[in-house]
């Protein structure tokens, strides 16, 4: 193997490693979402019993660290999972691939998660 193709092969393997990590993140976040969605739905069912008022909600969420932690993990999982999923769809349908695209998807996932975390923090603080 010449130096050039050996270098190309090294780069391909490094890229494949990154892609494997994205895949692993999507599966782990899918598992987290599976749990989080159930907890979220149960919380909704519990919260709406006997009507819903802003004061009631804030009473439960203000200063509740466990609540904030749960929704932070939920938002991170949803943001990353959705973005990696859209990355796969974009690669297969419009051929959008490559390191630049991957970094952009990662950024989109984190920004999406950021919106969720900001909303949760608004109810916490």
């Amino acid at each position: 193997m010449s130096g050039g193709t050996a270098g190309a092969e090294r780069r391909r393997r490094a890229a494949a490693r990154g892609q494997t990590h994205l895949w692993a993140v999507q599966r782990v976040t899918a598992m987290l979402l599976g749990i989080a969605v159930v907890v979220h739905l149960a919380t909704i069912l519990f919260a709406v019993r006997g009507g819903l008022t802003a004061a009631e909600i804030l009473g439960r969420t203000r200063g509740n660290g466990a609540w904030l932690a749960f929704y932070t993990v939920f938002a991170l999982a949803a943001g990353l999972h959705g973005a990696i999923g859209l990355r796969n769809i974009a690669a297969e349908t419009i051929g959008l691939r490559g390191r630049g695209a991957d970094l952009a998807w990662l950024a989109i996932g984190l920004v999406t998660a950021g919106f969720g975390i900001r909303a949760a923090y608004g109810l916490f603080a």
Binding site: R17, T20, W23, A24, N88, A91, R97
Partner: protein
Amino acid sequence: MAEPASLKVSVWRGGEDGSFARFEVPARANQTVLDVVTTIQREFDPSLAYRFACRVGMCGSCAMTVNGRARWTCRTHVRKVVGEDGALELRPLANLPVIRDLVADLAPFFDKWQRARGVFQPKDAPDGAVPEDFAVVPPASGARQEADAGIECIGCAVCYASCDVVAWNPDYLGPAALNRAWTLVNDVRDGARQDRLDAVAGDAGCHSCHSTQSCTERCPKNLDPSSAIAGLKRTLFWDTLLGRR
């Protein structure tokens, strides 16, 4: 199913931009799709190109697209695929370049077996020499059973032609090459495990598979490449998570 008196056969002629030629072929009892193609070539058009060798489902060379679906033609009875109208449409295998008529170019398919490190690499003799002693491999061991499950592949490319991900991503190694890699990952005599796992990881490898199982559904040998690919993903997942790679 009522048997039609004659078959109306549309056969792909030419290369990628070819077109169908139509033939009316007498229907015979128990004939296979390959028999029909041979009849056309012998009695109607000797210039028709197609490929076969063993005619008994061992060599993997006769696969074509039959009425829209990839099949081994030497072991596909006409009666199984033709309706009462007797219409039979034959194309070369999908997802591969067309050489001419019913002959697809399998070079990309087998190049990917190479890329997936589909070659056995003896552990005791990395230079390819014959090892000193026999390896003892208990047939009932889990790894050997995983390997045995995928070992009977005849390289027909039916799975490859049936996989949407191959169509969407020309780099994707495809079900047969990944199935082959999984048999070797489970071969305790093989010494190239890490290298092979590296070769099948990522978007061009097992991680692009959506587990839709067209490959498993269509494999004429009833192999299960989809599960083999799931095995690769599982192995890579734990190796990655536990920092073994």
